[in-house]
Symmetry: C2
Subunit: 192 residues, 2 copies
């Protein structure tokens, strides 16, 4: 295998997680997404609940946290450092796929790492979110809008990169246009 | 074939033109790049020389032209309109690949069109430019820097889009990392 580590940065509802899971199965790699929360909790003083509430999908992350709560800002940064250490260690062990959490940026210096960005237009994502996660009291437009804004803000704050810029990735795939299965096939071909 | 038209937006030296040419041969599609200049000249009042000097690689395009020369600005816009008409007509005829010249933006509403963005880091592009086009009196760093700036400015002015944003494309491929042959193979697979 050409690459020891694969990072998948994804837009909410684009199917990036599904692609990562499928690829991990095909390649025999470990897969890290929500299960990173447990690892971070084990290796830091943060509770699972705090990690879930203050990660990349947090309502108050990065400079929001700073602006709204002096202490919150400091803790958010400590959580980011704990998460960075977990991701760096996992990459060191190798043969893994890591979803989100700025892993593309954290592992940018490693030459054995392949970086993919998965995105899709809003209409595709909204439909898929309702299909996969179901309806909620909140409108689907508002759910996607909020989640996008949180991830973009979090990513910008901790990486100083703009979200969705092709140059940071080996490949960027529009899952809404080319299909989730095709995304898996193409990445598998590239990394093998 | 799923797509009637393919647009390739590319960074200078990334191999986008080579990829487009190879794909056209594999798919039996017409290929339009420099030969667009001749078509635009035939269908407008502009000379070949003017088109070459005021296209996407022009030293004075878009708002530069406006700022520096009132008349130049107006003519640049007329040239863009002539070019847009040529590209729109070619797409109407179908079975073609169009390189650069904001074709991705001009044909954004067509559902039978596949949009690819090809890019690579500076070191790869600099080496490739010297290999393909040879040395010149100007340093390679300066040649790439200038050409990038011109294309980005031209693209921004006529499309109001930022250069290199994944969301405008079906696929974005880092030719420096995955290789030019692999780019051809992947796009061929996606469009067939």
């Amino acid at each position: 295998m050409k690459y020891n580590v694969i990072t998948i940065t994804r837009e909410f509802g684009s199917g990036g997680r599904t692609i990562a899971k499928e690829l991990a199965a095909r390649l025999g790699y470990s897969y890290y997404d929500y299960n990173l929360v447990q690892k971070i909790a084990e290796q830091s003083n943060f509770s699972r609940q705090y990690i879930e509430e203050h990660g990349e999908d947090a309502s108050q992350s990065g400079w929001f946290a700073f602006a709204w709560n002096n202490y919150g800002g400091g803790l958010s940064d400590q959580l980011y450092v704990a998460q960075r250490n977990v991701i760096t260690n996992l990459a060191e062990q190798g043969r893994c796929i890591i979803v989100g959490r700025c892993a593309d940026y954290i592992l940018r210096e490693r030459t054995d790492t392949f970086h993919a960005f998965i995105y899709a237009d809003r209409a595709f994502r909204q439909k898929r979110i309702v299909d996969v996660y179901g309806e909620s009291d909140e409108s689907i437009e508002s759910r996607v809008e909020k989640k996008d804004r949180r991830r973009i803000t979090y990513y910008r704050y901790y990486t100083d990169r703009k979200w969705g810029q092709a140059k940071y990735y080996d490949v960027c795939l529009n899952s809404g246009h080319i299909g989730i299965d095709m995304c898996c096939d193409l990445i598998e071909r590239m990394v093998k």
